[in-house]
Symmetry: C2
Subunit: 138 residues, 2 copies
Amino acid sequence: MKANEVLNHHHLKRTSCREGIIDVVMSSDEALSEAEIRDRLQGCYDRTTFYRSFKTLEENKIIHKIIVDNNLVKYAFDSSALSSLGHAHFHCVECNSVRCLNTVALEKASLPQDYEYAQAEILIRGTCNKCKKQHSKP
Amino acid sequence: MKANEVLNHHHLKRTSCREGIIDVVMSSDEALSEAEIRDRLQGCYDRTTFYRSFKTLEENKIIHKIIVDNNLVKYAFDSSALSSLGHAHFHCVECNSVRCLNTVALEKASLPQDYEYAQAEILIRGTCNKCKKQHSKP
DNA sequence: TTTCAAATGCAACAGCGTTGCAAAAGTAGA
DNA sequence: TCTACTTTTGCAACGCTGTTGCATTTGAAA
């Protein structure tokens, strides 16, 4: 599926900024920060436009935002398999890369009485395979 | 346990800012933002001092930071029962209150091959008991 | 092609968090 | 209790993220 098809499907105007963001995010196997996406689009587009595009794309569930730390926000293509149980992400604390996981399940949450469950976010921290390999090398 | 005992136990200087933060956070049943803590201390102390104190207290595992959204950070007293499995928090999307949970368990995470697990954070969103009651009232 | 709503770029702004440095406070020893 | 030294604090300044208002441009429907 191509970027313009995605936009059409959601009845959104096909602007080059939106198409660019979708292209970049779709073709990446890991979540990307605003700066990384901007770099890959060769610095076109105003920062404002970027944020507004992110917002629109997020509201339409085309991408989703991952807050790793209060100063590290990344975006990933929404593979629509977002279960109602929630979405899980892996954050490598060494290279700061972030990946979506679909292999983690949350045990049915037992909340305090009279609390209503809506959605959960799971962030697992650790070391990714690339950084682990680096350790074994000299 | 009182604030000054906590500081002594961690071999930290007993300054009024640190004691104030610990007092406020210890006596609250929900996590508090920097602004909320500052208000309860009647606006004494510079913002810089606050951040540095938070950092020190966090490094010494006296309090912990909860990142709810990239623009909503809260702090809670560290009840030391932070299991290695990770810590869970509940975020009420209506009143923005945040509470620590100890009733949620993460199913042993099955990560991709060669990934190393370190720690997990779980954020459950929904409606708290107070906001739910509000709904039934006229 | 024309028209009009929607998206963009620009400027300005607010808030969070950090850093460097001089002044103040806490602590340990005499 | 006083002294000396290290740590913490307050202030000023800065960078970064994200937002808003407004004029201009663009996309798409008629």
